[in-house]
């Protein structure tokens, strides 16, 4: 595959992916707002502390990650260069947010109930921690890609 073909493919797919990520982010925000609104309207917030902590902690983190990813893909689709400092920064931010998301619901639950409590009897949610490590790996690979891209640009 030629370099130009690879760039045009990346551009096309990034545009589609940015739309999907933006929609996902909006859905996550909508779910959080609806859940919170419903709980406050029916005055069941104190009864549903666990659900609320999970919804706010995980939902907001997912929404933030989806919006950052949408921004990243928009930039890639505009510039056609996936390896840039912005991409690395975005990926590191997503990895950091996922890491925070692995324990944020438990912190929120402890704040809501006024004592130390955890969801699923574990302080760190492994299913959020693993994607965080994977995204951090990808960020490091992108960091190396930035060096190669700079070398390529300088050669041209």
């Amino acid at each position: 595959m030629k370099k130009v073909t690879a760039i045009s493919k990346i551009k096309e797919n990034s545009t589609a992916m940015s739309v999907l990520m933006a929609v996902l982010g909006l859905l996550c925000l909508g779910a959080c707002a609806m859940g919170l609104g419903d709980s406050l309207y029916h005055s069941t917030f104190t009864e549903k502390k666990e659900e609320m902590a999970s919804l706010l902690g995980t939902g907001l983190i997912f929404a933030a990650c989806a919006f950052i990813a949408a921004y990243l893909f928009i930039r890639i689709s505009r510039t056609g260069t996936p390896f840039s400092d912005t991409s690395v920064k975005c990926l590191k931010n997503i990895a950091f947010l996922l890491f925070i998301g692995s324990f944020l619901p438990n912190i929120l639950l402890s704040l809501f109930s006024g004592k130390y409590e955890t969801i699923n009897d574990s302080f760190i949610e492994i299913s959020m921690l693993v994607p965080s490590v994977i995204v951090f790996c990808a960020a490091e690979a992108f960091n190396y890609g930035v060096i190669l891209q700079q070398e390529s640009d300088e050669t041209v």
Partner: protein, 217 residues
């Protein structure tokens, strides 16, 4: 800077390998447990467990506060055949109070045998075994990718891209399973697969840059 970045990638690959080993153990335990459970559930005689029961509830309706044209209460009884058992529900007016009209709702289930629920339980347990197997397959390919990253000189080597492609492909059956099982809520997994596929394309572009860099040197 370049060497440091490669070292970081190698270290992250090693860490990922260790994490994946733990998850593989969990997946294997999951397969063994669900298969054993499924076999036991299939072997248990259908009439060994039986259940019957009833429930009662008061429904208080203040018809003055409700729009009469839209809302009306129908009294009566009905029976449903659920999992081979007769489930009957009745709804009758009981008394009138200050709060509104009190309706008595009675529900009773006839003799429910284990054999009625057996196919559902066996299917659920074997389904769980299939899911754990799909996860294990994805983990095996994930471990290969982590291994390739832990020893690579560049993340854009052919070996790494091949391992990444295989990992992406191994996620497809899992995404299909999630979408079939959870419907719209499984779309998140499908989206993760799409992101991996896009990353493969980006890594292919990285391989081109790597080739250019090697040729320049």
């Amino acid at each position: 800077m370049k060497d440091q970045t490669i070292r970081n990638i190698n270290d992250l690959g090693k860490v990922s390998r260790i994490i994946i080993i733990f998850f593989k153990i969990f997946a294997i335990v999951g397969i063994v447990c669900s298969l054993t459970g499924g076999i036991i559930a299939a072997v248990i005689p259908g009439d060994s467990i039986q259940m019957r029961g009833s429930a009662e509830a008061d429904v208080i309706v203040d018809l003055d506060k409700l729009p009469g044209k839209v809302f009306s209460v129908d009294e009566g009884s009905d029976s449903i055949n659920l999992f081979g058992t007769d489930l009957s529900i009745s709804f009758k007016e009981n008394e009138k109070t200050d709060e509104g009209t009190v309706y008595k709702m009675n529900a009773s289930a006839g003799k429910m045998k284990y054999s009625h629920l057996k196919p559902l339980i066996v299917l659920g347990l074997f389904g769980m075994a299939v899911f754990c197997t799909l996860v294990l397959i994805a983990l095996i390919f994930g471990q290969k990718l982590a291994k390739a990253l832990s020893v690579c000189d560049s993340p854009f080597e052919e070996k790494v891209i091949k391992a990444m492609m295989n990992f992406g492909k191994s996620l497809i059956p899992m995404a299909v399973f999630f979408v079939l099982l959870y419907g719209l809520s499984g779309v998140g997994t499908a989206l993760a697969v799409l992101v991996v596929i896009l990353f493969i394309q980006i890594f292919k572009y990285g391989a081109k840059l790597q080739q250019e860099s090697d040729e320049t040197l």
